[in-house]
């Protein structure tokens, strides 16, 4: 972490600036996947306990987002995608992000332990530690596999939701984790292929820079195949069913087909059509997780009426 510009003297931080520190868009995915993990679990919580569990998982995710913005303020300032965040734009200070992130991290872990169970709280604490210390502080600027490692942190919420309900980890929770884990790298590598200057300017070792763009294209294909295998495998567990199987087959045919097209193209082809295939892959992957987790939710909600699941 290095010093960044200080607070804009004409701007008094407003409440929304502190909300922005928590990365609300990332939080929305966390809330949704944690909610599905909790709902799909075979043990049901009281609605108030379930609401509290999801809320504290979301606050934990937001706290780690604030700590990430505190540490990464210097590189956020040079990337187009992130330079309007509260710290680089001078709307709040790195110290405020650190205080808020640390306080909310502790509060969310303790409250999740009290609202649900301490096993789920331990997973939340580990997730925050993993995202902030292992990913943000240690490995993000040290290895081109940074996206793979960061993806793991973002993959924990459905597992935490499941553990909040059941008190233990199971194959379904692990597969939901693995699906998000495998989805993250090709999603960001496709972005890096057509937003090339951003990560270069920030000196973040993206695969596109360290191993070259042809290697990145091969990586996208390999991860897309693994992602598809895991997504289809999830269909044959207790959270899957016929509806989920059909949805995942359609989605993964699209993903693997686009990944093969990305793998077969070179830079001349890509630049000729302004990275049309890479952009299409990225846009579809924005909806990919939502569609999958929504299908799991539909299976869960239909099960009491005899339609969901395999039974």
């Amino acid at each position: 972490m290095t010093n960044v510009q200080s607070l804009n003297p004409d701007h008094e931080p407003v409440f929304g600036d502190y909300i922005a520190l928590m990365k609300p868009r990332v939080m929305s995915l966390v809330v949704f996947t944690a909610f599905v993990g909790l709902m799909a679990a075979p043990v049901s919580l009281h609605p108030v306990e379930a609401f509290a569990a999801i809320l504290f998982i979301a606050i934990g995710a937001g706290a780690s987002g604030a700590l990430n913005m505190w540490w990464d303020a210097d590189i956020d300032a040079v990337m187009r995608r992130t330079k309007l965040r509260p710290i680089p734009s001078g709307r709040t200070t790195p110290e405020a992000a650190l205080s808020m992130g640390a306080a909310l991290s502790g509060m969310s872990v303790v409250m999740l332990g009290l609202a649900a169970n301490w096993h789920a709280a331990a997973w939340l604490a580990f997730t925050i530690f993993f995202y902030v210390v292992i990913y943000t502080i240690w490995l993000k600027r040290a290895t081109p596999q940074n996206i793979v490692i960061g993806g793991a942190a973002g993959a924990f919420p459905p597992l935490i939701g499941w553990v909040a309900a059941t008190g233990s980890v199971s194959i379904e929770a692990i597969l939901m984790f693995a699906l998000i884990f495998m989805w993250t790298p090709p999603h960001f590598w496709a972005l890096a292929l057509f937003m090339r200057s951003d990560y270069d300017d920030a000196k973040v070792p993206m695969l596109t820079v360290t191993h070259g763009r042809p290697s990145t294209r091969r990586h996208i294909l390999a991860y897309a195949i693994l992602q598809a295998s895991l997504a289809v495998g999830l269909a044959f567990t207790s959270v899957g069913g016929l509806i989920y199987l059909l949805v995942t087959l359609v989605c993964n045919v699209i993903v693997v087909k686009d990944a093969v097209r990305i793998w077969r193209r070179d830079e001349v082809d890509a630049e000729a059509d302004d990275f049309k295939v890479e952009r299409s892959f990225f846009k579809f992957s924005l909806f990919y997780l939502f569609i999958h987790f929504f299908a799991i939710l539909v299976e869960t909600l239909l099960t009491p009426y005899g339609f969901g699941g395999w039974s």
Binding site: E12, V14, F15, H46, E49, L114
Partner: protein
């Protein structure tokens, strides 16, 4: 003695203060409801100090 009120700063910080106040009230409300749910679902509470617990003695006599 009267307090000097810097109205410009107070106005600028109104959103911040209001947001924090609302969050705290909601947090307290959630803790209250959560406590109520936990206590309601915890089964019968046995408030017997320095005395044998009725359920234990009932179990022993059977």
């Amino acid at each position: 003695m009267s307090f000097h009120i810097d109205s410009a700063v107070h106005k600028k910080r109104r959103s911040q203060n209001l947001g924090v106040a609302i969050c705290l009230v909601l947090f307290i409300g959630l803790i209250m409801i959560l406590s109520l749910v936990k206590l309601t679902n915890a089964g019968p509470v046995e408030g017997y100090d320095h005395a044998p617990r009725p359920t234990l003695t009932e179990g022993a006599s059977e």
